[in-house]
Amino acid sequence: MSLVMSGTSARKKTAPRNSRKKRSTFDTTLGRAVLQLLAVAVFFALWEAGVHAGYISAFLMGSPSGIFATFYKLILSGELLSDSWYTLFEAILGFIIGTIFGSLFGLALWYSVFVAKLVEPFIVAINSVPKIALAPIVVLWFGTGLISKVALAVSLTALVALIAAYQAAKDADVDLQSLMISMGADKHQVFWKAVVPSTLPSIIATFRINIGFGLVGAVVGEFISSQRGLGHMIFLASSLYDLNSVWVGLFTLMILGFVLYYVIDIIERTSLPWKQATTSHQVQV
């Protein structure tokens, strides 16, 4: 997304000279936003019309008017906000713990090729287990409260971060490391000044995937057993055939994921300023 957006601002500056390439009036940030909102509005309008005309079952699918009414009600009662906060907290906490520990462990494997080779099959084996399948035991071990959801989110995110960090550390430019060694740097200096910085883009790239996994962990944990959170709300509502509440929960999760994605985007841009100078321009074909 950042690519497209900074691409436009760059093109705007050179617009007069670049005019041989035709751009429609909608191809601006505002124009696209209008189109996107329009698409959403049309989608809901068709849905609502379908329900009224009797083509779509409000009982099985819910209806936009019902969803908005439920949304309004849940916001007023404060339930939606508190459930959202709870899920968000679990997801972010799991994401942070999982990413930090996974990345640190992955990076540390750079230090010893022997240890890395030793643990590699175990990592592959653990990674090949669908972590969601762990959910029932995680709840058994950590109870029905916050900790089990965080633990589930950690189990989903840590290995992704670990594998990405380890791979990036292995791929770090050998020549840069050699150069440092010729300067008399020791292994720690090579690690901190050459290896770690060159792994940062890959590690930060996993944030995007992992923030989603954090939400998955939190919600699945809540499905299994909990008294709070969006997962709990969705689970409860669907067992009562309250489809409108289910949709409210789903759309709220969507909004959370959406916002988190852009937060990561900002983190990425501010923490890797040296990448911006070059990668923000998508090649125009």
């Binding site: 840069l176 440092m180 890797l272 040296w274 100078a277």
Partner: protein, 260 residues
């Protein structure tokens, strides 16, 4: 002229790499000496082992046999004491120009303020003042090489190992940087070993040219270059220049005259 003192002696160095079809003998019994404040160019066919020699001197590779003697003492390698400029400029993309220049001093633990002051001096001298906070990607090839050269010089190394530092640059930039290098070497009293494919560059810059044979590398011949010129450009106008050039071409089996 004071008598020449030997600074570095490389003796009977051998090195082979394990290849697909058995071991590849890259260096076999290679010996040469470098004098104090020498400027030696090493030329030889591609893949003959020039970079390998540098890697051994810099302590990045261990030789299979042979000795390195530095100022009368036998040593393992010159790790930490050489300024090694590799075939690529190898600037750290996440570091600014200033950050790149400071890399060596940081690893050495020099006081940050002192180091920055020194760096600013160098940057100014090399025409890079004002680019302290630029990232390498935004610089031209010639500027990048200058940054790499400063990064090498600022460490005040005993010997500069320059592995085809200018090979990726256009001719004008190369001529300019050759001048910059020659001046810097004079100002800071450095010993230089330069690997190059460019015979022209070798003659214009060095006091001596070592010609290597193909794999396994051996010293074929060493030419003293007796050109008293102040800059690499005037050196190219010297009467003796073309003679040296032709001799070295012949040495490398490059045909200089077309035979019909």
């Amino acid at each position: 002229m004071p008598p020449k003192q030997v600074q570095l002696t490389v003796q009977n160095i051998s090195k082979s790499f394990a290849g697909k079809g058995g071991d590849v003998n890259v260096l076999d019994d290679l010996s040469f000496t470098i004098n104090e404040r020498d400027f030696v160019s090493i030329i030889g066919p591609s893949g003959c082992g020039k970079t390998t020699i540098f890697n051994i001197i810099a302590g990045l590779l261990e030789p299979d046999g042979g000795t390195i003697t530095y100022r009368g003492k036998e040593i393992e390698s010159l790790r930490g004491r050489v300024g090694y400029m590799m075939q690529k400029d190898l600037l750290f993309p996440w570091r600014t120009v200033m950050g790149n220049v400071l890399l060596g001093l940081e690893t050495r633990g020099v006081d940050q303020k002192e180091a920055e002051e020194k760096a600013r001096e160098y940057l100014k001298q090399f025409g890079l003042a004002g680019f302290e906070n630029a990232y390498p990607k935004t610089l031209s090839g010639g500027m990048r090489q200058r940054v790499a050269l400063i990064r090498t010089l600022i460490m005040d190394p005993d010997i500069l190992l320059l592995d085809e530092p200018f090979s990726a640059l256009d001719y004008q930039t190369r001529l300019y940087l050759e001048g910059v290098l020659k001046d810097a070497v004079q100002t800071y009293n450095k010993t230089v070993i330069l690997v190059t494919h460019d015979i022209d560059e070798a003659v214009a810059l060095s006091k001596r040219v070592v010609v290597l044979s193909g794999r396994p590398a051996r010293v074929k011949v060493v030419h003293e270059i007796d050109i008293e010129a102040t800059s690499p450009i005037t050196a190219r106008n010297d009467v003796k220049f073309s003679t040296y050039f032709k001799t070295l071409c012949a040495e490398l089996d490059i045909q200089t005259e077309t035979t019909s």
